[in-house]
Symmetry: C2
Amino acid sequence: MNNMEIIDDIKYDAQGLVPAITQDIYSKEVLMVAYMNKEALQKTLETGNVHYYSRSRQKLWLKGETSGHFQKVKEISFDCDLDAILIQVEQIGAACHTGNRTCFYRSLKNNELVEKEAKDQNQDKFEVLQQI
Amino acid sequence: MNNMEIIDDIKYDAQGLVPAITQDIYSKEVLMVAYMNKEALQKTLETGNVHYYSRSRQKLWLKGETSGHFQKVKEISFDCDLDAILIQVEQIGAACHTGNRTCFYRSLKNNELVEKEAKDQNQDKFEVLQQI
């Protein structure tokens, strides 16, 4: 199955979209979830820069086009049902439009939604070291 | 914002669903993407075991109910738009119905879709060590 075949074999939903999860290749942090249509996946594979389909603006969206916060593709994986895409990227700047590194910057703690402490990549690595 | 408020504040789609990404708390591997409705999120928060809404079976789905491959909730995060959920879990057994640890077991290599080599958690940690 080559690049062009995978583009056709993906199971897009009724709107022609498939969820794409972006993960930092270094820290393994999940950065965001957005959607791709066939054109966005094709452009992503062709250029090595992640493209999504913006549901609000209803158009192709090169991530970083205005912010400079590009996502450089390092690895693209597909799930068992071919209805979700996982992209490991080198994230330039912040993935989130709020300025946070990840869109998932809030989590539940003691039944309250709180912002996570900012971490840099080295802190992630040190946490792994401590587990060993 | 407490647990009950977050359940109501999530932006479910027209089908009443929100994508939920499950990540291994230890290896940081993304395991699967599935969907939750309000009831699934509520049950997940109440029980500490991940519940989804099965779109094919159109019913609440306790992950591991038949396979024993439960997902124990360790942390739940929400994205900036409150339209996606990230759950860090302790995964019992395999997340994927194919028997693979993760549903994302295939990636593009040289334009071909190939199965990734199986990795154990320690291998992930050693890879991080090599980056330091």
